[in-house]
Structure formats: structure tokens, C-alpha cells
């Protein structure tokens, strides 16, 4: 494997939607390395948080157009992974207080 777990999973993606997914469907959303595939992500999450993953969905978010004066540019694209855990399990590191 090319990447180690810390390189694959960059950070949890905490938004209103991710919050809903977590509490309703036991799904956790992460920002992951754009080169990582589903099986790598599954392994990484299982190793990092000691949980069992049943499903991984990924999608590539396209970077937005940004402009500084007359210089136009793009933010980088990035990969989002929606990870479903086995029923009854949870990632306690991402549970708040």
C-alpha cells in the first residue's frame, strides 16, 4: 500500500449534513486523500478507530473557482468518503463531550 492511514484520512468532515448522517444512519464523513480507493479507506478507518466498516461511498468534490483580483484559480479537488459502520458501533473520538 502506498499511503499510510494517517495520510489517507485527513480529517472528519463536520457539517450539518454529516451530523444528520451520523445520528440517523451511523455514517461518518471524512475528507480523504484523493488517490485512496474504497478498500484502502475501509482498512484505514478500521485500523484507526478500531471499528468494523460495512460500506464506503466516495465522491470527488470539485474545487471552487476563486479569484484574487484578476488572477483566477481553482481550489484543489478533494475526495469525500461516507463510511457506514456496523450497527451498534460508533467512533468515540468523534462523539462530542
Amino acid at each position: 500500500m502506498l499511503l499510510d492511514v494517517y495520510q489517507i484520512i485527513k480529517k472528519p468532515h463536520i457539517t450539518e449534513r454529516s451530523n444528520v448522517l451520523k445520528s440517523r444512519d451511523n455514517k461518518y464523513v471524512f475528507v480523504v486523500d484523493i488517490r485512496a480507493n474504497k478498500s484502502e479507506i475501509k482498512k484505514a478507518v478500521e485500523e484507526l478507530f478500531k471499528v468494523s466498516v460495512t460500506k464506503v461511498n466516495t465522491l470527488i468534490m470539485h474545487g471552487k473557482k476563486r479569484r484574487m483580483g484578476k488572477h483566477e484559480g481553482m481550489r484543489s479537488d478533494w475526495k469525500k468518503a461516507i463510511v457506514t459502520l456496523k450497527k451498534g458501533e460508533s467512533i468515540k473520538e468523534l462523539e462530542q463531550a
Binding site: H13, I14, T15, E16, S18, N19, E95, Q96, A97
Partner: protein
Amino acid sequence: MTQNVKADILDSKRCQITLGVEVPSLEVKNEIEKNYLKLQTKVKLPGFRKGKVPMDIVIKKFSQTAEEDAVNNLVSVALNQVIEEKKIDAISCTQIEDLKFEKEQPLFFKAKIEIRPEFEVRGYKGISVNKKKVDVVSKDVQDAINNLQERNAQLVDSNRLIVEKEDFVFINYQGFSGEEILEEWSGKNRLINMAWDNFVEGFNQQLIGAQKNKEKEITIKFPQDYNKKNVAGKKVVFKVEVLEIKTKNLPSLSDDFAKDMGCSDLDDLKKKIEENIKKEKEFQSKQDMEEQLIAGLIKNNFIDVPSSQVDNRLNYLVSKAKKYIVQQGLQPEQAGLTDEALKKKYKDEAYKQVQLFYIFGAITQKENVQISEEEIKNEIEKMVNAAKQKDKEKVKKHFKENKETISQRLLEKKIFDFLVENAKIIKK
């Protein structure tokens, strides 16, 4: 808030008490939760719309803010409640210390509170004061008239060519230290009053005998401790040229002079002067008595007063003194009056004034001294009429806005009158 705040008076001395206050843990928790709810509607985080941030995230991110706010709020609320419950006559809270706060634990803190001094006002009747006898002797009048003459004197050319003791002389002068010209010791057309040696000590003495339109050299050795460093201890030679020699011409005492002064004739002038002197003396004697009364009051009622009030008063006095110095055209620091020096100077005065404030308050209450609206109105009317300003309405408005101060002053006056009435007056 609540009934459950526990409070003990731990220490009480000299107008200051220390309260130990304990707020039960439930209260603390409620307060923090309340803060979270408030925060939830306000905070903005990336990924969430405003007001849609879930509680757990709010708690994680803003626990410090919420707790700090809660503690601050609880301290002031609890303190107010305790003060009200224990009927403490508080003036200010100077310090909160030993603040203990932990989650799920009661909140505990100590507060230092300044209270109004409690005392029984005594010995304000029958204070013995010396009253100076007011009488105007003819010498006083004569002095005043002489003064008036002096002030209306005119300088006229004397025909003499040599400077004498009582003259007024216009000079050009240049100061030399060795070969070097001292710019600040040079000048043109300066008026020297020969009778008043205020330029450089010894200068006038040497100027006597100088001839008009001729140059004369005057040598001055400045003392070692002279306040201008660059000439201290040095020998300075002044080259002086006398331009004009004048003498003072006093107006003669005649009816004309009296008319110039706005009186009908000389007798009238004298009478008016006599009246003025009498008024002034009466005022002085009254002030003198008031000072004695104040000293007596404080002696009989030496009370401890809250130090924060003394500090306030002290700051006020110092700033007033500074303003006065600046008005005189001096820099306070230059005059050797730093804030510290001023504070030292006015410390006792400030303490006395605060004491007096309380003593007066106590007398007011005990003797039921009151100032009616009518009296204030009359006073305002009187002051408006006395004011020199043309726009009477404006003046009136100004005074009306300052009714508080006026009524306070009237009250003070009334108390003084009362004190004088009840004082043991020793005539001298």
C-alpha cells in the same frame, strides 16, 4: 436567582467586609446551560448555518466562553442577592478573590465590599469657635485707597538722565558669558521696575546711576544653585542700554479721581471701600468659623471611610489642582508637582472631605434638614440675576440642569448655619 446562595461574613473591619459566597452546583450548571442555549443561536461555524449548530459541537467548541460568562454572571448576581438579603449598605465591591470553579462543583468566592460607615454623629452642637471681630479701621481704608491709586498710576517721562531707585526703566540688554552671547539673556525694550528686583538678583542695584542712552556693563555672578543650569555659578556680563527713564505718577485724591472710579465724590468712594472691606472681613471671619467647625466636627466624629471614595476624591482634587496650575501657564511637572507630590499633598484633605460628607449626611438626617423646591428656585433666580451673561434664559437653563448641585450647596449652607447657631461662639 435563588434561595440557595450561602454567604458568610468572614471579616469586617474599617468599612470593609469580606464575604464568603457559595453558589450551589445546580445553579452553576443551569447557568452554564443557559449560556450554551444562548450561544447556539448566535455562533457561526463553517459547515453549519447560523443557529443550526448541534449542541454537542457548541459545547465542545465554546465551553470556555460559556463557563467564563456563567461565572462572571453568577458572581455579580449572587453578590447582589447577598447584599440585598443581608441588608448590607454597600458602596462598592473592590475585589473578588479566591474564586473556585470546577465543573459539577459549587462555585465559591470571596468578595471584599466597602460599606457605608455606621456611626452616631455626636458633638456637633456646642463646638466652640473663635469669632474674629469685624471692624474696619481707618488704616484699612487708607491702604485700600493707596492701593487703588497705585493701580491707576501712570508712567510719565522723567526728565532726569540718570537712573534712580524708584524709577521705571526701559532697557535693551545683551548677556555675555565670556565672548559668547546668551540669547535667552538678551532682549529689547524690557521694562525694569527698579523697586522690584525680579529680573536677576542684584541687577537693579547695579543699574542705579546708569545714564540714559549710554551703555553700561553689569556683571552678575549667578549662584551655584540657580534654577537655570546653563548660567548657574557663572559670571555673566550684561551690556545694558537705557532707553527711557520713567517715574510713576499717582493720581491725586480728588473728587475727579472718585468719579473715574464710578463714585459720586471722594466721600462716597471711601464709604464704598469701607463697605467692601467690611464685607470681605465678614466673609473671612465666617470662613474662619466654618473651618473651625469642620475641625471640631471631625475631631468629635473621627470615622473610618471607604478608601475607594477617598481615592476618588483625591483624584478629583489632584486633577483640579493640576488644571489650576495649567491655567496659571505652568506645566505641573515643571513646577515640581508630579501626580505623586500632589497626591501626597491632598491625601489628608481628601480623607477629611469624605468624612465630612458622611458627617453632614448624618446631621441632615438627625436634624431633618431639608431644602424645598421653593428655596432652590429662589437661589436659581438669585444666581441668574447675579450672572453677567446676557443670555439670561441660557443661564437659567444651565442652573436648572444642575439642580442637584445647587440643592446640595444650599443644604451645606443650611447645616453650617445650624452649626453656627448651636456653636459656642467666643468673641475676640
